[in-house]
Amino acid sequence: MSWIERFARILGGRRAGANSGLLRLRDALSLLQAAIAVTAVSLAQSVSLWVVAVGVALTILAVVRPLPEQARKLTQRLWTSAIILALAASGARVLLGAELLIAGVDFLLLMIVERLFNRQRCREHMQLLMLGSVLMVIAAVIDAELHFPILLALYLPTATLALIINHLLSEGERLGRRVEFEVDRYGRRELSRLSRAALQVTAIAAVAGFVTFLAFPRFGVGVFLRGNLYGEETVGFSESVQLGGFGTIKNDATVIMHLVPLDQSGPYPARLTWHLRGSAFAKYESGRWTRARNSRTSNLTRSRGYELLDEHGKPPAEVVSAPYRFGGTSGKVLRVTPIPGFAAADQTVRVLVTMEDIGTDLLFAAGRPLGFSLAPRGALEERNRLGADLDDQVRVLDRRNGPIQYEFVGRVGEPTRAELLALGDPEVPAKLHAYINTELSPEFKALAKQITAGADTRLAKVEAVERYLLQNYSYSLAQPRSERVRKGELDPVEGFLFDTKAGHCEYFATAMTLLLREVGVPTRNVNGFYGAHYNRLGNFYAVRQADAHSWTEVYFDELGWVTFDATPPAGRTAGDDAPMFPRLANLADALRNTYLEYVIDYNLSKQLAVLEQIGVERQGHRVTVNWRQLAPWLVGLTGVVIASGIGRALWRRKRVVVPVEVAIYRRVLALMQRRGRGRREHESARAWAARLAIEGAPEAGALERFARRYDALRFAVERPSVEELARLRELAARLRDG
């Protein structure tokens, strides 16, 4: 039994009525294609999980106990009522606020189950195939991940073979039992031939799909519903953040950002140590960071394609070159305005970022963001606009679903210790009072004063707190809450400082921020990502969800907000171990990135670029062909076609293995045909020889001896030996020589 027959026996289940192999195979294929389609929509998160679970349970029942060919009227009425009820329920769900797409897909799933129960005739199987294909179309619209083309590659040959077998069986249904029997017999005997036909059809369909993808001009917006990677889950970048959220994502290896440095050349370090700043919070209350009403507002100044984030009330730099989206240039684009007493003020990085939709409209930048420029890849992204928010946050206004690509220039240079010391401990102006307010317990205040006793400069206070936290507290992803915090007697950060003495980056950053505020140092809590990992396969830096991090920014007057990170070094790199198989994760990420870049985000401009590369150019309304450029492609394509034709012919020849004795017999047949004494169509070798003997042919005797020997070898249980074949050849030679 071939593997496909075994598969049909297992998955084809019981059939009410005839139990033929081909019918079971068709059942199995119908089930399999439906399963692939349901998997596709499930992975695209466009179906309710409970409906999938119910569907799977009912499908198992349908496979084991399908309805008979002539189901009772009551049963048919019950099924019809169930479908109508399901339709009504779907409509009600939509009216009550459920997503139309999910309700619709749920209904289609129930239809598939109903068809599986009622799968007696070819018409029902055709309907199953149509339902499966509709689900695949829906998944194609929603799902932008790499698993869709893999599922499509499985779906196409399965559905094609199912269609072919269903067609043959439908001819049997149409023409009667005799044809049914013949179809089943032929189908089982020639299953490999039918499978090859299905693969050939799949190949044609795949080529057509590929050509359409490449060449069909894009008129639409280019990106449909790529969706939110995380649904409603926040990762610390919403309007307020509860202390403790980051711990849950430190094991999440999902890549959420790809970074491509635009002002550096290789070799690239394996790990970046940038703080990618996203959100900043000024107000802390009862374990929650929010934005203070009197936080500092920011402004954006537009200049030559860049949106520059003001510093001290004015643009921080002058734009000297165009952004990446205009020509793809690399190198320095901003001439940073010098800051007295800050030598490294002009140390910047310029990075192209592709960020997934993680449920936030914030843009992330390394160090202190100086400027942003959106790099839209389609009409949808071109509608995005930037806006400045409180505390140097930059957002995409009215952000559409889906990923976003942008460029940032950030100042990664930090003031030196001497430069910070030189500032001393200046008075905090009124406009920054929001950044020194705290409402914590007297113990907390006492601890802050104790830690910073003797510190006479702002930097000394910062370093004292940082040192204290590093020396007395340990990093932990577990989120212990002390008894006093649980009872509400202490704030969570106090619980960390006084009771548990262990926590993750949020606790360290919050503790540092608030302790410094107690001693009059303006601080704010910042959430973002720390570091990125170089992917050699894809030539980009990947930022994972596990790299989410929290730190403190301290205000140093003219030097601006300076980054300090109280989290122990081991804690900053806690996310490095998130992927279980790092190399495999890198490969998967590189493949995914390539898939997203060249398939999902393939748009009209890329099409034109591809055409230009092969020598077809558009000049105004005319299209010109550069034959010198196109010729090698045509030659290559012709070569590929010829090579595949030759390969196919060679493979076919190799596949057809003619036994030696048959080859000898064929030569004898050809010889006798030439002599005009050929074999008639219905004659066996011996009958042929007998007829020639009656007719008085001179070779009749030799032919009779050859025929007897040939029959014995041809139909023997074991393969003839070399000596036996030599004897057969000898008899054939005698026949030839007369």
Binding site: M126, S133, V141, R193, A205, G222
Partner: protein, 327 residues
């Protein structure tokens, strides 16, 4: 009296999809598939979603592959039809259809031979279907044919059709040439009393060979003789087909008369039908040597046997139709 094959009014889409002897009909499932393809294409163009373009292309590819495969099947079909039993007007007769796979590579799968439904005709053949014909092989299929009128007529125009591979489209190819068959006149059962009146009693053995009577000997089988007369043991022994022969006995004799007329006239046709029915009854059941006179002229002398019956029926099939055959 020629049979007419008037073209039928076929749907516009089918007419548009007809060219070079091929025609394409879209089945219900095919329409559904086309609508789905167009919907996906529209969604792809409207949204610009790249994966929808891929799916759209795949569906177009399936349609193309379906066309290529179905053309591959119909193109390699070679059909030869022959009538296997006497063909009387208005009656079903056996038709043997030899369907050959003219290609030396690959099976010919799911192919049928059926009448061209674009023509209006009263003549019809029963469609035949072959699940698979191996490469360079032929398959003999049995069907039936019903012709409306006597005379020399071509068989109904046939087409080779296939729904392979998906059942979405029906591809048809017109078959070149139409075999001409001789249709004998309509016959009907005859009153047994007439047969009894025709017989005048048993005669003496004449020493001549006959189909019935005392065993006479074995003779070599000739084309056209009844297969049931083959003596199988002797055939197996000798290695060639031989038939039994019997000594003729004296039989009654009758010469029927047909008054001249013009083919197509109802009274003339009715007379031909009556004469033919009598001939068949007398020769097959009554074993009466039968002859035929057309007006004053004796056109067929009295005789017995299947060959004699054929001569009589052939004359009746064509009488009065000569002017139409030449037009």
């Amino acid at each position: 009296m020629a049979t007419t094959h008037d073209p039928k009014r076929v749907p516009l889409i089918r007419r548009m999809l007809t060219a070079r002897g091929r025609s394409l009909e879209i089945t219900k499932a095919g329409w559904l598939f086309i609508v789905l393809t167009l919907a996906v294409g529209f969604a792809a163009i409207n949204s610009g979603a790249n994966l929808l373009h891929v799916l759209f292309g795949c569906q177009i590819g399936l349609i193309i592959a379906s066309g290529l495969l179905s053309e591959n099947m119909v193109r390699r079909a070679a059909v030869h039809r022959r009538v296997a039993s006497p063909l009387h007007a208005g009656s079903r007769s056996a038709l043997v259809v030899e369907l050959r796979n003219a290609s030396s590579r690959g099976d010919m799968i799911s192919v049928s031979v059926e009448d061209d439904d674009r023509l209006t005709t009263t003549d019809q053949t029963e469609p035949v279907f072959a699940v698979a014909v191996p490469a360079s092989a032929a398959m003999t299929l049995h069907s039936s044919v019903t012709m409306h009128a006597r005379g020399l007529h071509p068989l109904p125009r046939a087409v080779v059709a296939t729904r392979f591979p998906f059942g979405l489209f029906v591809k048809r190819r017109e078959l070149p040439g139409r075999e001409r068959v001789l249709v004998y006149p309509r016959i009907h059962p005859i009153d047994p009393a007439l047969l009894r009146r025709s017989r005048t009693g048993d005669g003496e053995a004449l020493g001549a060979r006959s189909r019935a009577g005392e065993f006479y000997g074995l003779a070599e089988y000739r084309e056209g003789e009844e297969l049931r007369r083959i003596h199988w043991p002797a055939t197996a022994r000798l290695g060639r087909a031989v038939v039994q022969e019997f000594e003729a006995r004296g039989e009654a004799e009758q010469v029927l008369t047909l008054e001249p007329g013009v083919g197509g006239e109802p009274s003339f046709e009715a007379a031909i039908e009556q004469i033919a029915s009598q001939i068949v009854a007398l020769l097959r059941e009554g074993r009466v040597a039968t002859g035929l006179r057309y007006g004053e002229q004796l056109v067929v002398e009295a005789g017995l046997g299947p060959g004699h019956e054929r001569r009589l029926l052939e004359f009746l099939a064509l009488v009065g139709l000569e002017s139409e055959e030449h037009s």
